[in-house]
Symmetry: C4
Subunit: 377 residues, 4 copies
């Protein structure tokens, strides 16, 4: 068992994962697609935004809490849906969900998981859980079944991922000939022949098993019509994950979704798209006046990243890889620890910027500006 | 024989070539001129453009095909004319042409080749072939002969390279005292004394043999008048290769050429000119309203590079060095493999950006923007 | 005793400190908070400003002197308040103050010091001394006592630090489990149980002792009302240290403070705020018309940094870390030496820019411009 | 004797000098002042400008020649005045002048030289020679004597250096305790006690001998009045070297100088001023309409650097360090070789940009643009 060293920031968890995860798991987690322009820019882009702090306010009581889709969370950082937590820790998705719950925030389960919808719900009955949906090929029965199961298991929203008609090419996975280890299952598909683990482990012998799986099974013909159908089909609020432009955001508002996640899928789908924090502003402007909530994921690693996203108009942010690193470090406890570090950092950044609650972040004028602000003066 | 490792992207072919090509051949292929500002910027510049993807469209059927000069190609990537394929592989230009044909796209033969116009045509009768022309000194007979031979051999267009009154200085070639190996011939000039291989191998003993050759034999007095003459002389559509400004593009439209290649010759001629993707936009704007097609070459290495160039107004792009790396890897099969990887990457980028055919790339508003778009918001 | 090598610039003192200070002391001095974006940008930002020199003026007599709050100083560089000089040299704050005095400039004592208000005053009766205040929790008695003691000891101004309701997170300190060594005391609090050294050395066993101390003892509820109270309570001119925006600067002017320090606490508080030289200009513009003086600290390492700050509207600048490096090098003599090097560099930059006195720096048109000036031409 | 390797570009001479010059000589030559921001930016700035080439012009006859102050030179690159050529090669300034003459261009002699005004003139009677003046302290007799000697020896212009009331601080020289070796003299001052070599070799024991020399002997009170006096005193055209702003350029035009050198003294005087190519444009604009010629020096290393400067309005450029590297490589022959390489590069860049003579460079619209041109499209 590797030693548990002092953890002071998200980077420490990342370093830990780099050191102790098996190469093919680590590569699967960290890779972006193709040239990795976007995955790298996601991180760097945050540094291009500057905080203009307010001072001399009573910040002895900072309230980091906010709501997401009406549900209270302890701070505006939730867990993004990521596949295959079994590669990080035996506690799998169950552990991640538990960590999020203990830290007072929401967890989003990916369709591609090593724990099932029901397992997670049973182990974490009181956790705030969302369900992320990929739409599968052929008739709609698979989708319908997944949605109903999520509803019944008490998940509170459906996140439809709209940037993935199939998976982007991640070079390392191709070279590692990535497939799921024998002991891990596609937990949501145990009964569904062809959709199960076999679908991932039995690949054509070269390239990424998951890439192949997505191309064989995901529907790549999903349209706005299907979204309308889904919205009517489910009782749950519908969230579109993976919007990067004002044009598409406006359409989402039109058809009445509950929320949008500005996301480039952690730089794993279309490489060369803008960093999410860069894309955020045009989306926020586009939905103004509606009551559609805007979230962001991609590159959030610091309390100040959270601060910047919220100040630029996001209602909450999601973390993908950091949660996996937390899980790898120490299961549920690791996820909780990481979230609490982020919460404390966010709290500190609020206090030091003179913002006592999340509302103030959202209403202060020019609290966060693009660095070009300073070259235009 | 070096091992054929997993090839997942163009970079893998480049790495292979760096490892296995003899130094002087590799240097000849990769060098830019002088300080290599432009050859490096060609690559970096693509990363300054960002894709703004469309979502929720039925992308189950992506059609990557398009036309070039009216001829159908499987995707908008053709082979740029590059000299001396014999340095890469015994199959020489014949192999490159075959690889392009198998991948469903066009091949452009350089005047400076180790296979002749006729050899290539005979081995690849059904391939879509273009012929690239350098104009030689003295009377026009050499030029006339080359043009007629290309016409008769079934080449479908003449690419006149307009950025090379003689070759730029490539430092590595100077230091390597570069000359063509004894077993390679200047295949198009076997009968023409002085223009043949001897012209390249017998240099003054220092510097680049090819540089010297070009200064001794190329005409550096070609003008727009000569282009008009050539246009009238040949039955083939005339394409000007090497335009980087709106001013010159407008002149090309005026005299009625069929197409323009925005190109800086892979950074091998005038160093310090803009990256081709940077220059593309002013050229596209300048020809608007005419039916002159605009192509681009220089720095294309990724499916998203192709995507960006097409979205910014190019009808097709050409690859120079990548084709040489493909050839070095495995002859015709290597070229085909590389092209198919690029095609698949382009296909993926279209799907993930919600574009079902090339026409949509060309008509979507602000599909690709310069990164400064995000600092101006 | 480490050798005293040739010292030609501030960087040389920094190199010396890096080599000879114990790791935990060095880390404490050099760290910025969190990701260290701001501490690094403080340095880099100065290089983004360019001096447009005047020529052919009689610069045989350069007068670098200026005033701060009406007091004459030999050049516009003073010592910023920094904690714990005992970690650098046995002469502690007494040495730093002496060095500043000998170089003809002002010294600012931090509340968190290893020499007391009175000790320093007794050893340096004629030095120009300012006192920096942190406001402590509970009733105002601690604050009142500190202010009265500073007044009585002959300090000439109160610097209220407004960016620190508690300390930022400095990762290295967390990992070093930083605490004050046994032989060093919190000299201003010897009588005050809980505020003394014990408060810092007895931490919860993990993390930074000073971080914890600040959270336990500093008041984080200080507001503009308290500033007004303080202004009325003290006979001394009141300076607000840690303003980065026009909005807050205008408020400071309104309530009638004497001066403002544009500062991000050397990148140790809120990470991700602008470099101080970037923030300077909007603050200068905001106070225009008032008689509030504007100072700057953060990243000043060169005579030209001083020049740029003054030309952009600062009345004086302060140095934090450099003074600590000077002290580490050779006590008071080291501080004096370092200040004299900076003075000579500033003198030189004035002469070479054709400015004979500080007034000219402040009045010449466009003497210093942002680098973007040259891309807009 | 070190081997004479293949020399293909200026960088090769630089590499040679780095390898074979004694450290203190090399340091003296290459250093910039202080933080070396400007000396580095001089080089990098050229890469920020892009050439927009013209094509299809008859470039079989390129005329690189131009005039400077009415004198014909073979191409617009002259030798800038630099001190102490004896550190590079036994041929000293005599060799440098000879190299320039053989390459068909002008040589500028520094006041601080190891060969005298007369020696150089006698060895190079037909060379086009300019004389660079520093004005010395006390009465004007030293200056008057130097000017008369230059006139009599056939120098064709006076370059008054206006950026050096004394020398900037070059850290390496300080640390090397730089002084002139015993065998080298201050050749122009053999009769003048105190101004001679002794003045440089006998320094206070620390720091740069030359820095001290300049502070002790140069006049730092030279003003525009003195320039007017000098203009009237000499029969020679007067050139001001070291102007970086439109304001000062306009004054130079007013008092009727013949030419201006946009120069930051190779980054050796005031650090933090703009790169010379950045400053060029505002100076060119400021003198428009007058017949004052504008030159540039600083960072010219490539034929395309020359091209860019001329296209942006310079009548000629000067090289400082490259000439020293050429001299170090092989005396006069090395200087000639280096100049011929630059000439050939310039010739090539003209041909490849479609410019047949220098006049065309100066009149073509937008031939060279700042890189920001491409982000504004
Ligand atoms: C290993 C991994 C697996 C992922 N799996 C999914 C998934 O199954 N469904 C989905 O919508 N997004 C998936 N994502 C994208 C995340 O939801 C999220 O957009 C991204 O990780 C955010 O970027 P970050 O990792 O920089 O925080 C995955 C991301 C990673 C890194
Ligand atoms: C080794 C090499 C040889 C070339 N030879 C020719 C040639 O003979 N004729 C020509 O018009 N362009 C020639 N080019 C330029 C290419 O047609 C093309 O403009 C360039 O390679 C595109 O850049 P890329 O290599 O980054 O794709 C050559 C380029 C290379 C790299
Ligand atoms: C080690 C250290 C301790 C500091 N302690 C204090 C302090 O006690 N009070 C305060 O107002 N600022 C403090 N500062 C901030 C400085 O006053 C000043 O803002 C900063 O050091 C300026 O940046 P510079 O170090 O780049 O010059 C401290 C800074 C450092 C580096
Ligand atoms: C070693 C050295 C000595 C110099 N000496 C003088 C000098 O005596 N007089 C002068 O006006 N400029 C002097 N200069 C500045 C040059 O004239 C010129 O401005 C500068 O070298 C141009 O930059 P470059 O070296 O990048 O070409 C000197 C420069 C160097 C590098």
């Amino acid at each position: 068992v590797p030693p548990k060293v002092i953890m002071a920031c998200v980077k420490d968890f990342e370093d830990y994962a780099y050191k102790y995860l098996p190469k093919s798991a680590l590569d699967y987690y960290i890779s972006g697609s193709n040239d990795e322009q976007t995955v790298n820019d996601n991180i760097k882009a945050f540094k291009r935004y500057k905080i203009r702090p307010r001072i001399l306010r009573d910040v002895s009581n900072i309230d980091t809490s906010t709501t997401i889709l009406g549900y209270k969370i302890s701070f505006p950082v939730c867990i993004a849906p990521t596949a295959m937590h079994g590669l990080a820790h035996d506690e799998r998705e169950i552990g991640t969900c538990k960590g999020a719950f203990r830290a007072g925030t929401a967890y989003t389960l990916s369709t591609i998981a090593n724990s099932s919808i029901e397992e997670i719900a049973e182990s974490n009955p009181n956790a705030l859980k969302f369900y992320q949906l990929y739409i599968f090929k052929k008739d709609k029965s698979v989708t319908e079944e997944l949605v109903r199961r999520a509803e019944e298991a008490g998940y509170k929203a459906l996140f439809l991922t709209v940037d993935s008609p199939f998976f982007g090419k991640r070079i390392a996975d191709e070279k590692n000939n990535f497939k799921t280890p024998a002991h891990l299952k596609m937990a949501n598909f145990e009964s569904l022949k062809g959709y199960s683990r076999d679908g991932v482990s039995k690949n054509s012998g070269s390239g990424s098993g998951l890439g192949e799986y997505s191309r064989r099974l995901f529907s790549s013909s999903v349209t706005w019509q299907d979204v309308i159908w889904l919205k009517n089909f489910t009782k749950l609020p519908l969230v579109l994950k993976g919007i990067l432009t004002a044009e598409e955001a406006r359409k989402a508002v039109e058809i009445g979704v509950s929320a949008i996640v500005v996301s480039n899928h952690g730089g794993r789908q279309l490489d060369g798209v803008p960093a999410s924090i860069d894309a955020l502003r045009e989306v926020v402007k586009a939905v103004q006046g509606s009551n559609v909530e805007v979230y962001l994921d991609g590159g959030v690693r610091l309390g100040t990243d959270v601060f910047k996203a919220i100040a630029l108009g996001a209602k909450a942010v999601f973390i993908g890889r950091p949660a996996l690193f937390g899980l790898a470090y120490d299961g549920a406890a690791g996820v909780e620890k990481l979230l609490n570090i982020l919460k404390e950092e966010f709290n500190t950044s609020m206090a030091l910027a003179g913002c006592r609650n999340v509302r103030e972040l959202q209403t202060e004028e020019s609290l966060v500006v693009h660095e070009s602000y300073y070259s235009r003066l």
